[in-house]
């Protein structure tokens, strides 16, 4: 197919050709960035947690006015839950991964560092690692003699008696790598304030609650402190969750009917809630992409039809001079391909510009080059599909048109 005659024709339709190119360029630029945003969101939604995702239940109770025997009451609750058939593990916790409330602490690796190196989430509670199902990849698990009670820790802060503090901690792999990039973290100490905690174990992963920055999402430390805060996490087989949750609530109510159930849900729901915004944003972006491609396609159909109608005589003459239907079809297809290619090239530059803007404004990463072909292919396909109708109509124009004055 000869491109020159197409270019000559287009030069006589500068404005309309320019409009098609502009529309394709804008669409291409937005699609590239939108697809990139979609993939970012999807990646975030699938952020690994390091816990036994489909086996966990969270129950949070609130009772006003702390009783002196709070700890004993928590033990009663735990014992009651443990008796429910199907329950494999249970723990009294202060926070859940991807939950909304969190305890965090500045971490140093040397008590004399002027500023803490990182901010990590601190998990407390007995039997926590087993219940969450976090995987220990080095060192040992926490033992009974590692644990101190929360009251003892508070007493220690008051009196300055360091024996009342826990002396060990288990941290995640990514936190260990951040603190000691080239060394083994096992046996080293982290400091919360002036309190040293020896790292005895490393977890593959344990995501923190209320994530502020995705790059630090896995900075968590498990510190052996016993708790009684009325928040329980139960581990059970996925199919048993509904039943166990119901029975557990009944048993907790029997133990103390004067409590308010603040939270009762499976961990899948917790994850679902946490990423709800990302999910709706993904849906919205996909919707915008589809609508954009649709509008662009409609524009191409409209202008294509107009061009065909305008060039009926020219088509007739070409047919009379021996061009086949195929030639005419190809002519319009090539023309569209040409316009799309120019539009896409412009669109790439524009896409890069939009990305630069988003990078400064929303701290987005740079648009990887792999996203450019996605926009290009989408627009080539849309362009060809859109022009097919008008091009077919053009190829049906009989040669006899050439002999009539239109």
């Amino acid at each position: 197919m000869d491109i020159l005659p197409i270019l000559t024709t287009l030069r006589r339709h500068k404005i309309t050709a320019f409009l098609v190119i502009l529309e394709i360029a804008l669409t291409c630029a937005i699609i590239c960035n939108a697809v990139f945003l979609i993939s970012q969101r999807i990646e975030r939604i699938h952020m690994p947690s390091g816990v036994a995702e489909h086996e966990l239940i969270q129950i949070e109770l609130a009772s006003i006015g702390a009783k002196a025997d709070e700890f004993a009451r928590a033990q009663e609750d735990l014992a009651a839950i443990r008796q429910i058939p199907g329950v494999t593990q249970v723990a009294s916790v202060a926070q859940v991964p991807f939950g909304s409330s969190s305890n965090n602490a500045g971490i140093r690796i040397d008590p004399n560092q002027p500023k803490s190196m990182i901010d990590a989430s601190t998990y407390y509670g007995e039997n926590l690692i087993e219940t969450y199902g976090a995987r220990l990849i080095a060192g040992r698990n926490l033992r009974a003699d590692d644990y101190r009670s929360m009251d003892a820790v508070m007493e220690g802060v008051r009196s300055g008696d360091t024996k009342l503090f826990p002396a060990t901690a288990i941290i995640t792999q990514s936190m260990a790598k951040r603190l000691w990039p080239d060394q083994d973290a096992l046996g080293k100490s982290i400091y919360i304030g002036k309190i040293p905690l020896q790292v005895v174990g490393i977890l593959e992963n344990l995501v923190r609650p209320s994530i502020e920055d995705d790059s630090t999402a896995n900075y968590s430390a498990v510190i052996p402190i016993k708790l009684a805060q009325g928040q329980y996490v139960i581990r059970t087989a996925p199919g048993d969750r509904e039943r166990v949750l119901k029975i557990a609530l009944e048993k907790l109510k029997q133990n103390n009917p004067h409590r308010i159930v603040v939270q009762k849900r499976t961990w899948d729901e917790i994850r679902g809630n946490f990423f709800q915004n990302d999910r709706s944003m993904t849906g919205l972006l996909i919707g915008v992409c589809v609508a954009l491609l649709l509008v662009t396609a409609l524009g191409i159909v409209g202008l294509g039809s107009f061009w065909v109608a305008q060039r009926r005589r020219m088509i007739g003459v070409r047919r009379a001079l021996g061009a086949t239907r195929h030639d005419i079809l190809h002519y319009f297809q090539t023309e569209n391909f040409l316009l799309a290619t120019i539009g896409i090239a412009l669109g790439m530059v524009l896409a890069y510009g939009i990305n630069l803007f988003l990078m400064t404004k929303y701290e987005l990463p740079r648009l990887p080059a792999t996203y450019f072909p996605i926009g290009a292919i989408a627009l080539w396909i849309i362009g060809q599909l859109a022009v097919l109708g008008p091009a077919m109509r053009a190829s049906m124009v009989p040669p006899v048109v050439a002999t009539r004055s239109v």
Binding site: E23, I30, V295, Q310
Partner: protein
């Protein structure tokens, strides 16, 4: 003349129904998306107290240790310690001032067999209601003596009054909060600033029905009500006596009438920080006094996602306008002959231009009406989202009218090029071709 153009335009639009539908549909999609996102953006960046916001200020100081401090680049802390808040309050340098702490209260209904429930609670001081223009339905607030004496008095929101007392005048009645009896001194009219500016950084929600229970700060603390958000800058041994702990958990708002009083309060605040530095209580002397809207911007109450959506919608509208330009141009060039005939019969260029602009405007108005439908659908979708502000996303009269302005402007911009092309066509060649 206009009526004639209207008739011509309608005829022309009817002649090519598919193209017309496409144009209107595309424009409507763009307008619908733009109006939907702008409504949300306006909702989120709106002024919660338009009549008062210019006089309300949020003082900030910084008791944090020297660690991590970069002179001139470190923002002061968002909340205050209890002693600092009380010092600022008792100095009475502003027309009005109030300390604010958010919490949850366990409210016990009066009916025998009903369950207690949690309500959003504000622990504050006497000036709160007058300063924020919170209107009373029955009774009134408490006074400064009640603040100091930790009086067991409470103001409740109208929705809580409806729930507990069936909407009757409950002033003087007793309500059980965290297992203590409180006397109701006032019931507010429905009052819920959106966003709830005073809850920023104190652990409260930004949107929704508003708070249910308001009580004196000392009274709340006396029954062990804890703040929603605590930030400590040194080791803490006793979370029960936060008043003395090195922790920040109180927000302070002040009302300042004129520029002179703003300047003098700024100076007072700076002197206060310097004085604390010289007493070695503070290590940093940065202060800040943002007005209400400035504080909301500082707190970034408008999520990035919402801005991104608005940007996306505008991009979409731009593409729809380009699309409409193309289609209108195609339509008008096809009618070259008709234009030639009209010109030959004496129509001026401006008459042709006007005729095509009227046609574009009709497309715009139709796009606006359909865009309104799309916007309503979009907002319906937003209301089903999990966001806090979701239920507030409604099209108001201003946005309703703005829809048509956007539609008209978009279509007229789209119409200029085709109309201009039409009016500069030389009539003779068009007639000759026929």
């Amino acid at each position: 003349m206009f009526a004639y153009y209207l008739d011509l335009a309608l005829r022309s639009l009817k002649r090519n129904k598919v193209l017309t539908t496409l144009m209107i549909l595309a424009l409507a999609l763009g307008i619908g998306a733009t109006i939907t996102t702008l409504t949300v953006l306006r909702l989120l960046s709106g002024d919660p107290l338009p009549q008062k916001s210019a006089q309300l200020f949020y003082p900030q100081i910084d008791p944090n240790p020297k660690d991590g401090y970069v002179a001139g680049e470190t923002k002061p802390a968002p909340t205050m310690t209890y002693p600092d808040a009380m010092n600022l309050l008792h100095a009475r340098r502003a027309t009005r001032q109030a300390a604010i702490v958010l919490s949850q209260a366990k409210v016990m209904p009066l009916q025998a067999n009903s369950h207690p429930f949690f309500s959003d609670t504000v622990m504050t001081t006497a000036d709160f209601f007058a300063m924020f223009d919170a209107p009373f339905q029955f009774g009134g607030g408490w006074n400064a003596n009640d603040d100091e004496g930790a009086a067991q008095e409470v103001v409740i929101a109208s929705f809580l009054n409806d729930k507990l007392f069936g909407g009757t005048n409950s002033v003087g009645k007793v309500i059980r909060i965290n297992d203590h009896d409180f006397r109701i001194t006032g019931v507010l009219k429905p009052w819920a600033p959106q966003p709830r500016f005073y809850s920023q950084d104190l652990g409260g929600r930004s949107y929704g029905d508003g708070d249910a229970v308001f009580l004196p700060l000392k009274s709340g603390r006396a029954i062990k009500m804890g703040p929603g958000d605590i930030e400590c800058y040194a080791a803490v041994s006793d979370m029960d006596h936060l008043e003395a702990a090195p922790c920040m958990w109180v927000g302070v708002w002040v009302e300042l009438g004129d520029a002179a009083s703003i300047a003098s309060f700024k100076e007072y605040l700076a002197n206060y920080a310097k004085q604390q530095v010289s007493l070695s209580r503070f290590q940093r002397s940065e202060t800040s006094l943002l007005d209400l809207m400035g504080w909301l911007r500082d707190q970034q109450v408008v999520p990035d996602d919402v801005r991104l959506q608005a940007g996306l919608a505008f991009g979409f509208l731009l593409i729809c306008v380009v699309n409409t330009v193309g289609l209108l141009l195609a339509k008008c060039l096809r009618r070259s002959r008709e234009i030639g005939v009209r010109r030959a019969l004496g129509a001026t260029r401006s008459a042709i231009f006007a005729q095509f602009m009227v046609e574009a405007a009709i497309v715009g108005m139709a796009g606006g009406v359909l865009g309104l439908v799309f916007a309503e659908l979009g907002l319906l979708g937003i209301r089903h989202q999990p966001a806090e502000y979701a239920s507030l996303a409604h099209l108001d009269l201003a946005m309703f009218l703005f829809t048509f302005v956007v539609a008209l402007v978009a279509s007229l911009i789209a119409g200029i090029l085709p109309a201009w092309r039409a009016c500069v066509l030389a009539p003779a060649p068009q007639l000759k071709a026929a």
